[in-house]
Structures are given as structure tokens and as C-alpha cells.
Amino acid sequence: MNGVHDMGGMHGLGPVVPEKDEPVFHHEWERRAFALTVATGFLGKWNLDMGRFAREQMPPAEYLATSYYEHWLWGLEKLLEDKGLVTRAEIDARVTGRSSAPGPAARPAPEGLRVLHASNVERVLRHGRNARVDAQVPPRFRQGEHVVTRNINPPGHTRLPRYARAKRGVIAEDHGVWVFPDAHAAEEGPRPQHCYSVCFMAREIWGPQAAERDRIYIDLFDDYLDPA
């Protein structure tokens, strides 16, 4: 989607302000929101691409006015609601104290959900979820081949940034076969295909204001590319 999350090339968003000796988290709620998002990701109700797409659907003015973990929290609430696990009304009720009484003993998880338990945390972090696919899919392009990115504007999730559409580049490396995020986010299956590191001259993208020798490398899938 042509959302505000797709920020490459925008002006006016202010200077970069690094923080000295920055802590990993700034607030307790950030710790919990981070961990809740990671933990519920293992339930098996959504994938990484659906998670990203959920955050992208935060209203743009709100997205720009809020912090990273607020985006995560908004996306998590959306996924939980979309999958019928928790409604925003239920959360609101707890926040306002209308249903603050601690529930009875925690219920067992609904059938078929994989709840992440403490004893499994280290193992799942070591092995994680894989976006790489072992399928034998022939590559459409070879290293060194000239390509042009497609001019697509899908309303759904895509990992082809706006600034890189209809631009000419060269295949720098074939990363192998991966899940295709656009299809995966739409729950249309993995549609496995090759992903490449594609090299663009900065001037091809930004024109003469860019430094002549600078380059931008972007990881792009077969379905984003045509032969140049």
C-alpha cells in the first residue's frame, strides 16, 4: 500500500537525533508490548508479513505522531481483533476498570494455538521462523543482468518501496528462494520465488542531485522485476 510507512525519499521529517547511552527500552510498557508482540507471533494465527501489514494500516497522522512500539501495539490489537482472539472493546473495558477483576484461573489456550512458554524462548529464538524456502524455483534473472522494477501500486502489502518503482538496476546477487511477502501478507500462501540484491545508481533514483558514484542496494523479488 502507498502508506506513510513507505518513507524513503521524503523531506521535512526533521533531523536524525541519536540518543547517547540509549537504553534498550524507555518505558515498562515498551518492554511488555515488545514481548507480547513477539510471543503472540508464535500462536500461528498470523505471519511476519501480516504483522507488518497490520502496522502499515495505522491511520497516517497517528503513525507519524507515535513511537515505534505504539505502532507495534496498534498492529497487535488489530491482529488479535481480526483473528477473533481479543476485541478492542474488551481491552477498553479493562483499561477503564469495567472489567478489572482478575479472571478466574487462566483458561487453557484454544485448540490448535501454539502458546510460547518460558522454557521454549531460547529454542525458538535460536531457530526462529524461516522466510527462506527450500523449493526448487528457477530464477528469472542472473547476476549482472539489467532489470527494471515494475510500476505497481498495490493496495495490499508490498516490499517494493515507492521510490524504487520503474527504476533501472542490475542484479548484484541472487539470495535464493523466499516467501513472497505480498502474497503471504494477504494469506494467499507463500508463492515462493527468488529474491535478489538489486543495485541502483543513486542518480537513477534521485537524479543529478545525488552523488555520481553512490549506489542503493534493495532486496527485490522476481514479481517486482522485468528485464531491462
Binding site: H5, D6, M7, G8, G9, L13, G14, V16, V17, P18, E22, V24, F25, E28, W29, R31, R32, F34, A35, L36, A39, L43, L48, R52, Y68, E70, L73, E77, V86, I91, D92, V95, G103, R107, P108, A109, P110, V115, L116, A118, N120, V121, L125, R126, N130, A131, R132, R159, H175, C195, S197, A202, W206, A211, R213, D214, I216, Y217, I218, L220
Partner: protein
């Protein structure tokens, strides 16, 4: 919705401590998920502990220092970052593919994720706020030299800048140049010189005190 305010009202919490809107909302969400059996609070504690104490840029710094002292390791690292870094057994979330980019006097690499905030968690931990912020995500690709100046780094015209936009599941880490005046330093002492930003590509590694700046 309370969380959309973008600022934090203070409310008395259950133990008298002030709780922000966000704190209240996340607490409410966690208690709901626990009651529904969807979340084990001890797993949340373990995840937080992992990223606060076990995974962070010290991991990446160890990789960089090893590459500086061991040419065969460096060769393998640049050829196959995933397998070579796996030798360290870091507990951070495993990446499907890690690519290590070597900075040289003529090529400077820097990493961004313009679409969200993809970052090599296993070697650098969780990203800093500036990496996830709109200013960096918007201009790292458009004006890398201007962004680097905001970090206090001015590169000569004849240095080629390569910006890597992490748009897929491949993760990138920069192997910075070894600073002068570090001959004979131990691997551990070298690792202590390597700060996070040098492995994102928004800084270089500063020589140890007394060696002067380049």
C-alpha cells in the same frame, strides 16, 4: 483510543505509582491475553531479559574484532555471514541470511529499512530509536551524506556510499575499518572499541585514546 494520544497522562496505578495511558493499556492487554491462555507471562519476562541482557551490539563487536585479527575468518565472514556468525552461537533471533558489508577507504556502507525497521537483531540487538525514526528512514536513501553529517561523519567526495535498504528478510551488518594505532591490541580490547553505529554504518571506529583522530 487511549494509545493514540502520543503523550502520556499520568494516572495513579494500583500501587500508587503513576501509570501512563500506554502503561495501562498494555497492562490490560497482557492480563486479557494471560486470562485467555494465549500468553505465558514468564515467556514475556524471558524475551525481555534476552534482549536487555543477552543480545546486543556486543555480539556484533565480537564478530568485527575477530575479523580484524583473523584474515581467514574475515574471508569466510564476507563470503557467508550467516554460517560464520552462527559459529558464535548467539541466542538472538536467528536470521535466515546475514550479509556482512566491508567498509574500505573507498567504499562506505550504511544500512536502513525505509519500510519498517528491519535490523540484524542476532548481532546488534534491538534497534535504537533513531534507526526506527521517520527522519532516518526517509533520508538515508535520499541524502546519505547529509544524514552522515548529522552523525558527525563527513566522507570525502571520492568515497562511494552504498546504502542497503533492508526490504526483505536478508539482514545487513557493516564491518567497519580497523582504526590506526591498534596493532597488537587483543581481540577483546578491539571489540571494546566497536560501537553499534559503526556496524550500522553511521559512524567509523574511533582510535583508542592517545592515538589521535584520523
Amino acid at each position: 483510543m487511549a494509545m493514540s494520544h502520543g503523550h502520556e497522562h499520568e494516572h495513579p496505578g494500583e500501587h500508587g505509582a503513576p501509570l501512563s495511558d500506554l502503561q495501562l493499556r498494555v497492562k490490560a492487554l497482557e492480563s486479557l491475553l494471560v486470562d485467555k491462555g494465549l500468553v505465558d507471562p514468564a515467556a514475556l519476562d524471558a524475551l525481555i531479559d534476552t534482549y536487555e541482557t543477552k543480545v546486543g551490539p556486543r555480539n556484533g563487536a565480537r564478530v568485527v574484532a575477530r575479523a580484524w585479527v583473523d584474515p581467514a575468518f574475515k574471508r569466510r565472514l564476507l563470503e557467508d555471514g550467516t554460517a560464520t556468525v552462527a559459529e558464535f552461537g548467539f541466542v538472538g533471533r536467528q536470521t535466515d541470511k546475514l550479509v556482512v558489508l566491508e567498509n574500505t577507504p573507498k567504499v562506505h556502507n550504511m544500512v536502513v529499512c525505509t519500510l519498517c525497521s528491519c535490523y540484524p537483531w542476532a548481532v546488534l540487538g534491538l534497534p535504537p530509536v533513531w534507526y526506527k525514526s521517520a527522519p532516518y528512514r526517509s533520508r538515508a536513501v535520499l541524502d546519505p551524506r547529509g544524514v552522515l553529517k548529522e552523525f558527525g561523519l563527513t566522507l570525502p567526495e571520492d568515497v562511494e556510499i552504498r546504502v542497503w535498504d533492508s526490504t526483505a528478510e536478508v539482514r545487513y551488518m557493516v564491518l567497519p575499518e580497523r582504526p590506526p594505532g591498534t596493532d597488537g591490541m587483543s581481540e577483546d580490547a578491539l571489540a571494546a572499541l566497536v560501537a553499534r553505529d559503526a556496524m550500522i554504518g553511521t559512524a567509523t571506529v574511533t582510535p583508542p585514546a592517545g592515538q589521535g583522530r584520523r
